[in-house]
């Protein structure tokens, strides 16, 4: 029988069972690393560093996890906080203007050869918050309340960012492909 996340968490906290925590890491590493790759604009090395910090922080705080949300949602919330703190300290250290993947200018759509590439380019035209909302909703499959918990946004803001992002995507794609 495959142990559930709560079982593995209990074994980790009660017995300091590293194998159980290893199983939790293996289960959730993909979601956390993909989310951080999205936030860092595809910087895999930085995303993996932040993901490692996320899992270590989660391990330290595991005894305080009350199960109010799913473990995955809790992890993504820690990952989001780590990303924000890391970006803040990097900006402070470098004294550079804020750069974010979402603010990069999308490549010329005339060179885009397929819809998949169109969509990736169109996503880069959205605001950072809209990108994050669309990513968590469509690619991570989170519900609105889960997104609200991860990002610390009110439920209405979550819904607005998703709807606005999707409207923008529809318009951008329609403009690039007037006769699909």
């Amino acid at each position: 029988m495959i142990p559930s996340d709560p079982d593995l968490i209990k074994r980790t906290v009660d017995l300091d069972d590293r194998e159980s925590y290893g199983e939790l890491v293996r289960r959730h590493q993909s979601a956390v690393r993909r989310f951080l790759r999205h936030l860092t604009g595809g910087d895999a090395a930085l995303a993996d560093d932040l993901a490692q910090d996320t899992f270590i922080q989660a391990y330290r705080s595991l005894a305080r996890f009350r199960g109010g949300s799913s473990f995955a949602t809790w992890l993504l919330g820690i990952a989001h906080n780590h990303y924000r703190n890391s970006r803040r300290s990097r900006l402070r250290a470098a004294e550079e203007p804020q750069t974010d993947a979402a603010e990069e200018t999308a490549g010329s759509p005339t060179r885009v050869s397929d819809l998949r590439h169109d969509l990736d380019s169109a996503l880069l035209r959205l605001s950072p918050d809209e990108q994050t909302a669309v990513h968590l909703f469509y690619r991570q499959g989170l519900s609105h309340p889960e997104m609200s918990a991860v990002l610390g946004w009110p439920l209405g803001t979550v819904k607005t960012h998703i709807a606005r992002g999707k409207d923008k995507l529809r318009n951008i794609l329609a403009a690039w492909n007037p006769n699909p």
Binding site: D16, S30, I56, Y59, R60, R116, L119, V134, R139, L169
Partner: protein, 128 residues
């Protein structure tokens, strides 16, 4: 402000949803990531914290025995008079200062063991 269709075509909506969810199920290969995380976890928690847990009940048992002996086996129906007599003889033979020192020594040993067993060094939730 961008123009937005008031009533988007449902089939277009479904197609856009499908595109957006296209790689939702794709998962990143672990590639040793989990091993790196486990290797970077804080030091293991010591198994010793059980020490003071047994000490309290043990002291309770000792105190209970002392009461039973002092009352000559009351509540138990046991004949503890030889032990009671021995204790009385011992109490009268030793000066009060020796008994006081013994009490201080016991308290000191308990305090030191508490400090040693509850040292935060090994806690997994301790900041490095």
């Amino acid at each position: 402000m961008e123009s937005e269709p008031l009533n988007p075509d449902p089939s277009e909506e479904a197609r856009l949803d499908e595109w957006l969810r296209h790689d939702a199920a794709a998962s990143l290969p672990d590639d040793g990531f989990s091993s790196r995380v486990l290797g970077a976890l804080p030091a293991r928690r010591s198994r010793a914290p059980a020490g003071p847990m047994w000490m309290l009940p043990a002291l309770g048992v000792v105190a209970g025995l002392a009461i039973v002996i002092a009352r000559g086996g009351a509540f138990t129906g046991l004949d503890v008079s030889p032990i009671s007599g021995l204790m009385t003889d011992l109490g009268s033979a030793l000066p009060e200062s020796t008994l006081g020192l013994a009490l201080v020594a016991v308290v000191a040993v308990l305090a030191v063991s508490e400090l040693v067993w509850n040292s935060p060094e090994d806690s997994p939730f301790q900041e490095p």
